[in-house]
C-alpha cells in the first residue's frame, strides 16, 4: 500500500553549492523569501505568465535527506539563527522556520482563517477597508483544498491535547478540534523537525513546485542583502544577495544580483523589516520594524500519574478561544505544544537537580500554552526590529508591560485549572521559582511571583508585523494592497504586514491575504 506521496522536486531549483560564480539575473518579478507568502505569490504570478525568480536564504530540504526527527539536526538547520533567535535580552525565545518553504517546514500544521474580529479591527482602526472574509474567502477555499486542510478526527487527539480538551470540558470552557494541513499523517509528532513522511502539505510540496512548473526559478542558500533603488529613490531596481555555503551557512563570497520590474519581499516578520532597513528604503515616518507582534506565549506544565507521551501524535489538535475577548485587557487563546527533550529542557526553569527531576518526568508531562493576542489594545505597539553592528545583526526588542503581565497571570491560572481538572497531580509555572499548584488553593500564588525579563519563561512561534499595512502612510509601511507606500514596484507579502497579531495561528491568514493581494498586483498597471 502506498501510504504517502514521494518528494516532489522543485524544478528549476538551484542550491548555493551549485552557484560557482557571481550571477546577474533578470526577471519580471523577484520574490525574496519562500514561506507561505512568497510561495503562493510566486505560484500566482507564474501562473499569470510572469517570469519569477525566488530567493531563499535557507537551504532546500527533503524528507529522505534531511528530516530524521532529531532535534539536534533540525533546530540548527531549519530555524532562524540556528534555533537561537530571541529578543536581545533573551527574555523571549523565538521559534521561526528557515529554509525553502519557510515556516511551513516546521510549523505544527494548525490552520485557522483570520477571525472576523481581527479583520474588523483592521478595517476600523487601520483603514484596511476591504479586508473582509468575503474577499479572502474564495482564496481560503482554494488554499484549504490545495493543502488538504481538514478538521482532525477525535481519534487523532493525543493524550497531551486531551488534557486541554477534557479539562476544559469539565470546567465548562469551550474548545474546538483544530484543522490541519496534512495527508495520511502517521502522527510521528515530528512536525517541528520537518515532516519525515511528507504528510504535511507545506510550501515545498505545494505552491513552490506549482510555481516552478510554470517557470519560476528558485535559488536556495541566497540571502538578500539589500534592495537597490534608482537614483530618485522611487523604484527598486535590483536585489543583491550573497550566496551561502550550506555546510557552514556562511557567505561563499559569490554574489547574485536580480534585476526585475517588480519586487516582492516575503522574508517573514522580523527578516522583511530588517531587509527594508538594511536597504535604506524611504521611511519618512519611521514605521519599518515597528508594531512587531509575537503572540507571546506562557505555559504551565502538569505532571500526571500516567504516561502522556507529549512527543508523539499530532502536535496540536485542540484549542480554546474562550478567553480571546477580554474588554480592556489582552485576550489569549489556549493550545498544546509537543514536548521533545531539547524543547522541554529549554522551557523548564531552573538548573541542577530540580531541572533534572522535571526532565525525568517528561513522559508523564503535559503542557498547555496561552498565546496572547497582542496589538489589540489601542496603546499596544508591540515590539521593534532594528539593526545593530552596522546592519550585520538584528535587534529585536519586545517590552512586556503590566497589561501583558496581567494576561499572563490570568492565562496561567486558567491553564493550571484545566490541567488539574484533567487529573494532573501537580501543575508548575515556568517562573524562575515555579509556583507549584496541587489544588485551587495554590493558584493565587501566581499573583505573587515577580514579573520581569527572564523571571518567567516566554516564547513565540508566531511572528507578525514590522511592515504593517494601513491606509495612513504615517502609521504603516504598505497600503491595503500590500504595496509599499513610497515605492510603486515593491510589495510585501508575508505576516509582517499584519497591523496587529491575529489571535490564531498565522499560516492560513498569510496564504489567503497574500493570494488576494497577488491578484491585485497582477492586475495593477505599473
Amino acid at each position: 500500500m502506498k501510504l504517502l506521496a514521494a518528494d516532489r522536486p522543485i524544478a528549476n531549483l538551484m542550491r548555493g553549492r551549485e552557484i560557482g560564480s557571481n550571477l546577474a539575473l533578470s526577471a519580471d518579478v523577484c520574490v525574496v523569501g519562500s514561506g507561505p507568502g512568497g510561495a503562493i505569490a510566486a505560484a500566482r504570478l507564474a501562473a499569470a505568465g510572469a517570469r519569477v525568480i525566488l530567493l531563499e536564504e535557507g537551504g532546500s530540504f527533503t524528507r529522505k535527506a534531511d528530516f530524521h526527527m532529531q532535534e539536534a539536526e533540525a533546530y540548527p538547520k531549519l530555524y532562524q539563527d540556528h534555533g537561537n533567535r530571541a529578543t536581545d535580552d533573551l527574555s523571549i525565545t523565538i521559534l521561526q522556520g528557515r529554509g525553502v518553504g519557510g515556516g511551513t517546514l516546521v510549523n505544527w500544521t494548525t490552520c485557522f482563517r483570520t477571525p472576523e474580529a481581527t479583520l474588523a479591527l483592521w478595517r476600523e482602526r487601520h483603514g484596511l477597508s476591504d479586508f473582509t472574509a468575503e474577499r479572502f474567502g474564495p482564496h481560503w477555499d482554494e488554499v484549504e483544498k490545495r493543502l488538504n486542510v481538514h478538521v482532525v478526527d477525535a481519534a487523532e487527539v493525543n493524550d497531551n491535547n486531551a488534557v486541554l480538551l477534557e479539562g476544559a470540558k469539565k470546567l465548562g470552557i469551550e474548545t474546538e478540534l483544530l484543522k490541519r494541513n496534512v495527508v495520511s499523517c502517521l502522527q510521528t509528532g515530528a512536525c517541528g523537525m520537518g515532516c519525515p513522511t511528507n504528510a504535511k502539505r507545506g510550501m515545498a510540496l505545494t505552491y513552490l513546485p506549482d510555481a516552478a512548473e510554470r517557470g519560476a526559478r528558485v535559488y536556495a542558500d541566497c540571502r538578500a542583502v539589500r534592495l537597490v533603488l534608482d537614483a530618485r529613490k522611487e523604484r527598486v531596481t535590483a536585489v543583491e544577495a550573497e550566496v551561502l555555503d550550506p555546510a557552514t551557512d556562511r557567505p561563499t563570497g559569490r554574489r547574485l544580483t536580480v534585476s526585475a520590474a517588480r519586487f516582492v519581499v516575503a522574508g517573514g516578520a522580523i527578516n522583511s523589516p530588517a531587509l527594508l532597513l538594511r536597504s535604506g528604503l524611504p521611511d519618512p515616518h519611521g514605521r519599518v520594524g515597528k508594531r512587531t507582534f509575537l503572540h507571546p506565549v506562557v505555559a504551565t506544565v502538569a505532571l500526571f500519574d500516567r504516561r502522556i507521551d507529549p512527543f508523539y501524535g499530532a502536535p496540536q489538535s485542540v484549542a480554546s478561544h474562550a478567553f480571546i475577548d477580554r474588554p480592556g485587557k489582552i485576550g489569549f487563546f489556549l493550545e498544546v505544544p509537543p514536548l521533545h527533550p531539547v524543547l522541554a529542557s529549554l522551557a523548564l526553569p531552573g538548573f541542577g537537580a530540580a531541572h533534572r527531576e522535571g526532565m525525568k518526568l517528561l513522559s508523564r508531562t503535559n503542557a498547555v500554552i496561552a498565546l496572547l493576542r497582542d496589538g489589540f489594545l489601542p496603546d499596544d505597539e508591540g515590539g521593534t526590529v532594528s539593526l545593530r553592528e552596522g546592519g550585520k545583526r538584528l535587534s529585536i526588542r519586545y517590552p512586556l508591560g503590566e497589561t501583558h503581565a496581567e494576561a499572563m497571570r490570568e492565562a496561567m491560572k486558567v491553564s493550571a485549572r484545566i490541567q488539574l481538572a484533567a487529573g494532573a497531580r501537580e501543575v508548575r509555572t515556568l517562573h524562575k521559582d515555579p509556583v507549584v499548584i496541587s489544588g485551587e488553593r495554590d493558584v493565587r500564588f501566581i499573583d505573587e511571583r515577580p514579573f520581569g525579563p527572564n523571571l518567567l519563561g516566554v516564547f513565540t512561534a508566531h511572528q507578525m508585523g514590522g511592515c504593517a499595512a494601513g491606509a495612513d502612510p504615517k502609521g504603516s509601511v504598505v497600503d491595503g494592497n500590500l504595496r509599499h507606500h513610497h515605492l510603486a514596484n515593491l510589495w510585501v507579502f508575508d505576516g509582517s504586514v499584519f497591523p496587529t497579531s491575529l489571535g490564531v495561528n498565522p499560516q492560513l491568514s498569510i496564504l489567503g491575504i497574500v493570494a488576494a493581494s497577488a491578484e491585485r498586483m497582477i492586475a495593477a498597471k505599473t
Binding site: 525565545t93 510521528t188 509528532g189 531539547v342 541542577g352 537537580a353 531541572h355 526532565m359 525525568k360 550585520k392
Partner: protein, 162 residues
C-alpha cells in the same frame, strides 16, 4: 576604590582545566571549553540514571554549534564565559573568591543561582544563554533520552512509503 583594589587580584586567577577537549576546537579556547564544561555539569547535574555531561561531551557539542554562529555572537558568548568564570565576579555576587571552575559544587550552584535571579538584567540574560546551550547540547544527545522516558523517534514503515 580600596575595596576594589583589595580584590582586584581575583581577576587574574586562572581557570582550572578539569575538562579537556577531545578534539580540535573550532571556536572555544581550552580555557573556555573547560569553563563551559563546568557550567554544563552544574546546569544538567546528572545523577546515576543519566550519562555525565562529559561523557556526552556537551562542551564539544557546544563548540561545534557555535562554529555556525556569526562571529560577533561567538565573541559575545566567549566574553560571557570569561566573565562568569572570573573570581572577581564571584566576589561581586558574593558566591566565593575562586574562579567558577575552581569552586566547589555548592559555590558553583550559588553563582548560577545568583545570576539566574540577579536584579541586574544582563546577568539573568547571561545565565539564560549558558543554560540554554548546555541543555540543548545535552538533551540533543540520544544517550540522555532514556532517563527522560523519551523512547526516541518512532519507527516508520519506510517500506510502504513510495
Amino acid at each position: 576604590m580600596l575595596a576594589l583594589g583589595g580584590t582586584a587580584f581575583l581577576a587574574f586567577r586562572r581557570t582550572l582545566r578539569a575538562a579537556k577537549p577531545r578534539a580540535a576546537l573550532s571556536v572555544l579556547s581550552p580555557d573556555e571549553y573547560a569553563i563551559f564544561a563546568a557550567v554544563a555539569a552544574r546546569v544538567v547535574a546528572v545523577d546515576g540514571d543519566s550519562p555525565a555531561t562529559d561523557a556526552v561531551d556537551v562542551a564539544g557539542r557546544a563548540d561545534a554549534a557555535m562554529a555556525q554562529w556569526p562571529d560577533s555572537v561567538q565573541v559575545e558568548f566567549r566574553r560571557l564565559l570569561l566573565l562568569f568564570e572570573n573570581a572577581l565576579t564571584g566576589a561581586v555576587t558574593r558566591t566565593g573568591y575562586e574562579t567558577f571552575t575552581a569552586s566547589r559544587e555548592r559555590r558553583q550552584d550559588e553563582r548560577l543561582a545568583a545570576w539566574a535571579g540577579s536584579r541586574v538584567a544582563v546577568f539573568r540574560s547571561g545565565y539564560q544563554a549558558m543554560k540554554r546551550l548546555a541543555c540543548a547540547c545535552y538533551y540533543a544527545a540520544p544517550e540522555s533520552w532514556p532517563a527522560t522516558g523519551y523512547p526516541g523517534p518512532p519507527e516508520l514503515p519506510f517500506g510502504e512509503i513510495e
